[in-house]
């Protein structure tokens, strides 16, 4: 039985804005085992980033986070005091942000920003830290590490900056890494490189990862399990192969169906009709019902229940589809 690393129970995040309450995350629950890679897939506005920031308690006013428990290695993160959270962040759980251009402080050298992690979370002495910084840069594939430590962020390209961010995230040997759209802001040619790097480093360290993305290709490569989010709710979870081969939720089907395929003989792509609704004005019942090709009156009346399927899958739908794609 794999060791359960993270258990999120009924996480909700509200933003109280002038225009009203925006429920960015609506009572989601998921878990992550040791050594696993969980891919969280969804479009912009689905709540995937907010959910993970909420776990680390990085949501600021006017956001309010509530849950029945965010258990990390058995401890409830939501109840910890601020100082204990500081020890968790960076050391036990670290994050990689989407845009490497803005993640690094422009006024400090790369070296000092990596060293900061070591200063905060390790006992290394001055020489030890410098050595480890160079080691980390080399590990993420940056040549001439000692020299590059003295450079400033603006002197690096996007891909290299993201490598530095990865180095920072791994510096204190965390057991969980949350990567929020780590390759979205990069050139397509670089994306594959960075993904391969992350895959290698995470498995080598024996760490677990939550990989947040809107790109199904990324998830299909790296994840062990997938959770699909729509409008703040998790609509489907399951092992990667099953979710991709036989998605049970119409939204997941739609996402997969709108990917152009080399093999099949397609004349036109099958996009999902309609647009993602504004979180200020969500449809009643199932949030996806206005766009769903299979919706019935009951879909608009009641929030769909969570149905557990075999193989460790679950889906939130009144009429889940059980056939293969």
């Amino acid at each position: 039985m794999a060791e359960r690393l993270l258990e999120v129970k009924n996480l909700t995040t509200d933003f109280h804005t002038f225009r009203g309450r925006v429920r960015a995350v609506d009572g989601i629950s998921f878990h992550l085992d040791k050594g696993e890679v969980l891919g969280i897939v969804g479009e912009s506005g689905s709540g995937k980033s907010v959910a993970n920031l909420s776990i680390l308690r990085l949501i600021e006013q006017p956001g309010v986070v509530s849950s029945d428990g965010v258990l990390f290695k058995g401890r409830d993160l939501s109840g910890l005091d601020a100082r204990s959270m500081l020890k968790i962040r960076g050391k036990e759980i670290s994050m990689i942000f989407q845009d490497p251009m803005t993640s690094l402080n422009p006024l400090y050298t790369i070296g000092s920003q990596i060293e900061e992690m070591l200063l905060l979370h390790t006992d290394l002495d001055d020489k030890g830290r410098k050595a480890r910084c160079a080691e980390l840069l080399a590990m993420v594939g940056i040549t001439n590490p000692e020299e590059r430590l003295r450079s400033y962020p603006h002197q690096f390209s996007g891909g290299m900056r993201q490598r530095v961010v990865i180095a920072i995230a791994l510096a204190a040997d965390p057991c969980l890494i949350i990567a929020d759209e780590p390759t979205t802001a990069l050139d397509v040619t670089i994306q594959a490189q960075i993904l391969r790097l992350m895959e290698r480093l995470v498995s080598r360290a024996g760490a677990s990862m939550i990989l947040i993305t809107h790109d199904l290709a990324v998830v299909s490569r790296m994840a062990h399990r997938i959770a699909v989010m729509y409008c703040g709710r998790i609509v489907e979870t399951g092992p990667k192969r099953m979710v991709i081969k036989s998605p049970a939720h119409p939204y997941t089907r739609g996402l997969l169906g709108s990917i152009p395929r080399m093999s099949a003989d397609q004349r036109r792509l099958d996009p999902i009709t309609g647009m993602v609704p504004s979180l200020l004005d969500l449809p009643s019942g199932c949030a996806f019902s206005p766009r769903c090709p299979r919706s019935q009156p009951i879909c608009e009346r009641g929030v769909p229940p969570e149905i557990k399927l075999d193989g460790g899958r679950s889906v939130c739908c009144h009429f889940p589809q059980l056939e293969n794609l």
Partner: protein, 321 residues
């Protein structure tokens, strides 16, 4: 880098030339030097003689040229009122102004920056709103009113501090200072505070605005995700970024600071350059006015230059090509 410096210096020289012409021409309309130099009973013949000696009958461009040549030679003329070389007069008064300005800058920075950092990092808290309201209030206070009220409260009513003049001074390294004397400091407190006031409000608002702008950036959130404590996030990560616009504007505002010393020194009868200027204006002492303004112009050009250079040091992203 060298090219940039040369270009800036050339630019500065042109500015100075233009400004000097303007100053020189306009001051010819202030008062009548002849009246200042001869007694009222002098005859028309004597007056004409004096006019010729002073070169006042020459056409304006020639007068300017003579003036320029004198300046190049280090001859800045003599004050009509004091009858001593203007340069001597200015150098005599300079330390007084400098020490007061220095103290007021330190006061302003020490008070304003922490307040601004706090208000910028926690903009919605009650204390921050109070800080901002007070700074807006402070910005509406005319300097002369502040000075006056300080005198009224602390000097006239409470009698704690002296209301005017400079305290006992002694010569340190060839310069006459009063800051090294505790009695001297007593005289300096109210004027320095008045001057600091003028800048407090602006510094607080600038620092706050800079902080608010910076706190929104991703690297702040990333620093938090790294486990950096909130205090370090504010003072190590955010502040350095927030200070960039502060330094720029403050550099430009040092000008106003110097202008406000005029008011402050007049109110407190502080024997510095500001008071010298006002006294000279009242007395139509042309040479002093011209030289004072010229030196001020030089000061500003140099100041702007330094601020530009400082800017490039603080922000490594600035590429001078």
């Amino acid at each position: 880098m060298i090219n940039y410096i040369i270009k800036r210096i050339a630019h500065a020289a042109i500015v100075l030339a233009v400004v000097s012409v303007v100053i020189f021409c306009l001051t010819t309309y202030i008062g009548d030097p002849v009246n200042m130099m001869v007694s009222e009973k002098a005859s028309a013949g004597t007056r004409e003689l004096v006019r010729q000696q002073l070169g006042l009958n020459e056409p304006l461009p020639v007068q300017y040229w003579i003036f320029l040549k004198n300046v190049m030679n280090g001859q800045f003329g003599h004050s009509y009122t004091y009858k001593i070389p203007v340069i001597g007069l200015i150098l005599e008064r300079l330390p007084a102004t400098l020490e007061m300005v220095a103290v007021s800058i330190v006061l302003a920075v020490v008070i304003a920056i922490p307040l601004g950092v706090f208000a910028g990092a926690f903009p919605k808290r009650g204390i921050s709103r109070i800080i901002m309201a007070s700074s807006l209030f402070g910005a509406s206070l005319p300097t002369f009113f502040v000075g006056m009220m300080l005198i009224l409260i602390f000097a006239v009513n409470l009698g704690w501090l002296p209301s005017s003049g400079r305290g006992p001074s002694s010569v340190v390294m060839g310069v006459r200072l009063s800051i090294n004397d505790p009695a001297g400091i007593r005289y300096m407190i109210l004027p320095a505070l008045t001057l600091a006031f003028a800048n407090l409000a602006m510094l607080i608002r600038l620092t706050r605005a800079g902080m608010m702008e910076v706190m929104r950036h991703d690297f702040i959130r990333f620093a938090r995700a790294k486990g950096v404590s909130e205090r370090d996030v504010m003072f190590k990560h955010a502040l350095k970024n927030a200070l960039i616009p502060v330094v720029t504007v403050f550099g430009m505002e040092i000008g106003s600071l110097i202008a406000f010393t005029t008011v402050t020194e007049t109110i407190f009868a502080w024997p510095g350059l500001g008071k010298l200027l006002m006294d000279s204006i009242y007395a139509s002492d042309r040479p002093v006015i011209v030289v004072y303004l010229l030196l001020t112009a030089v000061l500003f050009v140099v100041l702007n230059f330094i601020v530009d250079m400082l800017y490039t040091i603080i922000d490594p992203r600035i590429d001078l090509r």
